[in-house]
């Protein structure tokens, strides 16, 4: 029957997880194309049973970190001068081919594999809008990437980088290594007019100030919840004491 204690407990465990989310954002302050996320709290209603008043029981509101919500705002774009660093200025993701299937990323730090294929830092081939890897002939050096994603070299057009968008970006599963997987049913849609910048890279969209403020807030609220649990414990102890004394 210690509902107050359990409610505070639900708040505390949710807050510990929320702190882990903030820690992950701060740790990735310098990860290209990283999108920060945030824990979303909701109250989880439960009906307390076997109470006398009011008849039928009371509603109890437990805290529940229902979801993590990813901030999909583009991060700041930084000039690097590397011809194969490509930033997407608007919405959209690059598509890459991994052994597990197609994955999506915002980090446009690409390089050439030994066979001339354009790959990401993990060695996964970047896909063209025809769904094939983009291959560059040896010695074809002066690569230019147009704002619409068309890559051309000295010997003419090589292909167009595939840029996709999703109906619900929140449904994408982060897999680490800057890759996102699309869950079944969330099929990628083509972006008609992508806007790309060559020689630039999108930084993490994590705002350090906000994260620090949230961290302090999270910590103080946690301490408050602990204090509340202590007060509740004292209340119960003194209630038991008083009841015993009255006997």
């Amino acid at each position: 029957m210690d509902n107050a204690g359990y409610i505070v407990l639900s708040r505390m465990s949710a807050q510990l997880r929320a702190t882990a989310v903030i820690a992950h954002n701060v740790a990735n302050l310098d990860t290209p194309g990283f999108h920060g996320s945030r824990a979303v709290f909701a109250d989880h209603l439960a009906r307390a049973r076997a109470t006398e008043l009011p008849p039928g029981g009371r509603d109890l509101h437990f805290t529940w970190d229902r979801a993590t919500w990813r901030d999909t705002e583009p991060g700041p774009i930084r000039q690097t001068g590397n011809p194969l660093d490509i930033a997407i200025t608007g919405a959209g993701y690059f598509a890459v081919e991994t052994p597990q299937g197609e994955r999506y990323t915002r980090a446009g730090r690409f390089t050439l594999a030994a066979d001339g294929t354009i790959v990401d830092m993990g060695g996964n081939a970047v896909l063209s809008d025809a769904g094939r890897p983009l291959q560059i002939a040896p010695g074809d050096t002066e690569l230019t990437v147009g704002a619409d994603g068309v890559i051309s070299g000295r010997n003419g057009e090589i292909g167009r980088i595939r840029i996709v968008r999703f109906e619900n970006e929140q449904a994408l599963l982060a897999e680490g290594e800057r890759l996102y997987a699309a869950p079944p049913g969330a099929d990628p849609l083509p972006v008609d007019r992508p806007r790309l910048v060559q020689g630039a890279l999108e930084g993490a969209n994590v705002n350090a100030v906000t994260e620090m403020v949230r961290l302090t807030e999270e910590m103080r609220q946690f301490q408050f919840a602990v204090r509340f649990a202590e007060a509740e414990h004292e209340r119960q102890t003194s209630a038991i004491d008083r009841l015993l004394r009255r006997r």
């Binding site: 820690a23 310098d30 970190d65 590397n82 066979d115 050096t141 449904a171 599963l173």
Partner: protein
Amino acid sequence: MRALHIAGTGMMAQQTNVEVISNNIANMNTTGYKRRRAEFQDLLYQNLRRTGSQSAEGGTVLPSGAQVGLGVRTAAIYRISSQGSLQPTENRFDLAIRGNGYFQVQLPTGETAYTRDGTFGLSPEGVIVTAEGFPVQPGIVVPANARDVTINVNGEVFAAIDGQVQPQNLGQIQIAIFPNEGGLEAIGDNLLLATPASGQAQAGAPGAPGFGNVLQGYVESSNVNIVQEVTNLITAQRAYEMNSRVITASDEMLSTLSRMR
């Protein structure tokens, strides 16, 4: 308490970052040095609640799942091979490449190494060698009676020899290009080795399509931009501090817990 470990990975990553930046600053005046940059990527995620799973009541599908990431790690330290500025030295064996390509150097082991450092000189036998004395390929021998040596933009070496009207063509210095320069392995002493990631070296004459030009009397200075490095250093230091703040905060939460009566 995941936050402690996550912030720990963040601090380790920033430490690597500072190490890379300090190496760049230390090599600010190294001929032919290309600056490096540390690259990070997020670690794997724990799915507390999967996207698309059904919430308890009424079969409504969750619009987004709950995922907690586990921190960051260094993905790569890559070389930025942009052109460094050319510095006149007035030394006739100093060469700089303007554009793509690397000089080929024969190591004592017989392997071929590649370098952008064109501070060359002559060996006692008259062979054009690097500052370490490794012969530049193809081996070009300058005769002892040569008055002056001229190297044109295409790498052709001419010697003016006493008693001859026409300068004598001694050979052509070749340079090598790679499909992926970033894949070259640095072995120190400004030397790089080819790896499967860099692809096969393609040797050719300077000035040919895809190859850079050779300039006599110049060396290529490092492409380190000191303003950029110091800015990166400040950012790295602040990021390190913020990660340590997360550790302090998590520690404070834990100590609150342990003090709980």
